[in-house]
Symmetry: D2
Subunit: 338 residues, 4 copies
């Protein structure tokens, strides 16, 4: 950590900083420059808080030198983590496409969806049983019954299951029903209660990026899970909130190469929630794979116009099958398989 | 709801929309213009979802006419709601300042803080026992013990207590300890599990705005609490996330008059988290009161430089007392008292 | 245009709106609903301003039905525009990569740069002679001398030239020196003076997106150029400003398919300014091509570490050559050639 | 400037940095820590560019220590600058309200506007003759004729005149017509051509903040004007672009105290363009004064509903007079006069 003092500070302010560092178990390294005095902090800066030092008299700014995350960082583990989900590897050479409907609606819908997902060549299935909805007056998901329908349909087609957990109290029922990957949604990226809970199990977790979370905050949210013991974490970029209102969110494709450099964990992309319209999904999915994503999370519905939620962003089975064909040569162009 | 069709759509697409509306229990009102056909929807649009209609062939855009929130809206209740917190009214002519430290640290710190808060003329006390922290490696709050220390110190000075709830499972312990106002933090504004839980009790709730939540989403989050039965909701603007990095967040002062127009519920402002630096607090607090806020939420610490969290944004007891003096004439200038 | 009236407005307010529309040469179509009265506007809404109608008593909101742009829209011209730049087609099946250094520095640097650009297989060259710099104390470009060096080097390798115009008074000198494509930079996207001037000539124009310009504003900026007579416009997405500070800008890859749907004009992407670091360029360039971009604008410097500006984002000649090889199979995967 | 090296860099990378600094006329100060080597730069860092150093092998990040602006900074001049505009001081104890219509429309409108502005007690007048409009199809201003009408009406009521310059070629005509303060609009904040031109005269300049300009970029834009010789610069905060769409822009009230701390120059606020609706103006104007603004820029129109542009955000003469009465006690509460 580097402490930049204000111009014209006296020895008293510098001594106060030095004493504070001493109290905190660190050592100061003082450089008196022409325009500013700068104090380097010697010791493990991850134990310090920038604010504690910025509150001291005469301090202008405090600059951390180290990254605040550790277990999830590439400095800690240089080689890629490949997560095994019931035999399907995520994070390796093969790109995985996780597909399925926004909401679980009925046994018929789920069977049709699972059949379509498998037929298109996808190896994992998604579906929402507990739904985070902006309005309390809209469909909130089928709950535990939805969980049962999802798992049943997916198992019939040999597909491991991904679904979202919103309440820590539901974790046991998720495990009992055999959910293979637990999704932490955008609105819960910094629900630290939930992060700590999924950190206590070893089931893989998809951690979606918060609506306006920085890459650093996102890595720190993953560090919460990792620090609690679960290292099976998959990042999922799903578009962020900006000033633009021509599309629902802005897919941050730059986050893909940046995360791949910062962390050893897999990174997937959700092109459906990013653009918010089915017609945008193929272009965004291709861009994600071209940028180096390890997988995709795509909304598919047997009959999109009849979906109970997000009807305008789901692909039809035919569109999904076509997308997989489009993605294959892109995957190959970047040295991957689909 | 108004449905705008694409240019050159045929009768088939228009019929499909009309049939879908019929299925959903609505009636269409079709206007064929020169450049576009427009379909008005007759019936209770709050039961519809824009996405379901935008997914239909030939539909270009769907525009809601009504606001999505109801119980919290001024259309539903024109007169201001005044919430009684243990005898202290929030939302009336008197402006309330809620003050206290970011984190509960010790009995001594809390006693000194409560004494300072009361001496400055504030009528409610805040303090954090369960802390949402970006890093898993920093201080996470004293938990239940912190709750006890907070209530004890505040009671000794006759101050009702405000503190943040992060986990629905802790709600009972909050009520047992006599927490007077439950705060839902920024990161949990759309933690719908938590919103529904605090909706089941009648204890007043401070609902902080999400980091990048629109005013509409914020009102909908309050509607979750209200729809579950608890109408004692206080909005708290605390700065939003933007491109600017010269300060921690950007205080959205415009949200104050806009909310006061849209909702009958009280609106307060947190100038401490907005700017992120103690020296910015007085200017932002004055601006908030001048803009029409019903109250403030301010961080005060007996010795800011020694605070365990957010040290750089807490006021000292002297600064707090001075701020109250500065605010009095502003309150008077807008026809309020402090 | 659709005018939504407030709840409980009387006949007087409705009559005022009707009279105003009459004055403006439009006709009203009034629908009295249960909760709201809605007034449809019959006539050419592009001649109206939303604000004029929103200022009327009793009006809640005014919603435009038509897009505000015309000449640049796909509704006006369904088939793709292919722009010929000295024999190089932009907007057709072939993807064009425009490459070169941020700043023109010397004859030697430009000769080396042009040789590298041509050797990598790029067909156009870029270079900055007039530089928009955040600080008045940094290098501002070589000016007219830079223009001369750029054209000379590019001509020697048969490459048409792209360079940025900042001042309308320099337009003649740009034309005299034979600049083939005039670039309007990010900071000048809404410099309407400049847009009108380049609208008066027929030289192709690259219109970079403003730092926080919406897609709609960007199309309207192009409409300024088109309305003045010049239809040879190329859109260039170069990253937008958001809350994220892990990279310089956020590449808005979604803008590519959205623009391709809204306009018949070519769309290219600048991956260098988007990420701001050379190591991010290949991933972003691949994503842009996969998303459907018609071309790229890439910074290359003979010796990046010695560049006078943006040293950290320029590719070396070797990196540029490798990028072209990486892009070829991606272009093919989307049915294009490089 | 501080250079943070990557973990495990060798002597070679460190030597390369040291040699580069030497070439640039600086000296390195190398500290080898446990986790990172850090190199301090000794010499005038304003002559360096971060990018040149970040491009070197082994460099992780480069952190500037000094502010990039100089003439406009409080470090350069601690006491407040008070700018004299034809006898009206801006930046002193008295708060100045500059009022007038968005567009100059006719002699009658301007006479009525000037009478209203003077009657309300404002001491300066604004009006737009050259208008930056998003659409080429809407009213673009009366141009030179508008300039003449504005000055004539204002002079008749003893009001100095503020108006926007969009094209450097119009500067002479602005001076000939006796414009007292030249406004550089939001879209031109980084039109460096224009900034340099107004830097060559001594007429006061109002520099509006760019739509998504950081405070630092804004100060640098002012530094362009100052470096060219004109130190009579007034900053004008007018709302920035964010994700929120409930109002046109978000007034950044925090920028007021931050600018007042960073610069000695006056800071005013435009509440009309910030909110975009007349009913929001009083609350925002009060907040601005309470936060420490030196003045306001307010839109007033004799008959707002008939204004040719921005009709929904102009105050009527009665509303303007009432606003001045509301502001007086706020000004007094912060130790100022109106």
């Amino acid at each position: 950590m580097i402490i930049i003092m204000r111009p014209q500070v006296g020895d008293e302010e510098i001594d106060t900083v030095a004493r504070k560092l001493d109290q905190l178990g660190m050592r100061p390294h003082i450089s008196r420059g022409v325009e500013r005095t700068i104090i380097g902090v010697i010791g493990d800066e991850r134990r310090l808080e920038v604010e504690q030092l910025e509150a001291l008299p005469g301090v202008e700014r405090v600059l951390p030198v180290l990254k605040p995350y550790k277990i999830v960082s590439r400095e800690w583990q240089p080689q890629d983590t490949v997560i095994d989900v019931a035999g399907v590897p995520i994070g390796g050479r093969q790109i995985q496409v996780i597909a399925g409907p926004c909401s679980v609606e009925s046994a018929e819908q789920m069977e049709a969806a699972a059949a379509a997902v498998a037929a298109a060549g996808c190896r994992l299935m998604r579906g929402g049983a507990f739904k985070p909805r902006t309005s309390p007056y809209t469909f909130q998901g089928l709950g535990v019954e939805g969980l049962r329908l999802l798992v049943e349909a997916a198992r019939a087609h040999g597909l491991p299951v991904v679904t979202e957990l919103m309440d820590a109290r539901d974790l046991d029922v998720f495990l009992e029903h055999g959910v293979d990957v637990i999704q932490i949604g955008t609105r819960n990226m910094q629900n630290f209660t939930l992060l700590k809970e999924v950190g206590r199990i070893d089931r893989p977790v998809i951690l979606k990026r918060g609506l306006s979370a920085t890459v650093s905050e996102w890595l720190m949210a993953a560090e919460y899970i990792a620090a609690a013991g679960n290292h099976n974490i998959i990042f999922c970029e799903r578009g962020v909130r900006t000033f633009e209102n021509a599309y629902r969110n802005m897919l941050d494709v730059t986050a893909v190469p940046v995360l791949k450099r910062e962390t050893h964990l897999p990174v997937i992309v959700d092109p459906s929630h990013a653009g918010g319209k089915a017609w945008m999904v193929p272009a965004l999915a291709r861009a994600a794979v071209a940028a180096g994503a390890d997988g995709l999370l795509v909304e598919v519905h047997p009959r999109p116009a009849e979906a109970w939620s997000d009807a305008d962003q789901a692909l039809s089975p035919e569109e999904m099958a076509r997308l997989m064909q489009e993605l294959a040569p892109i995957a190959e162009a970047v040295g991957r398989s689909l």
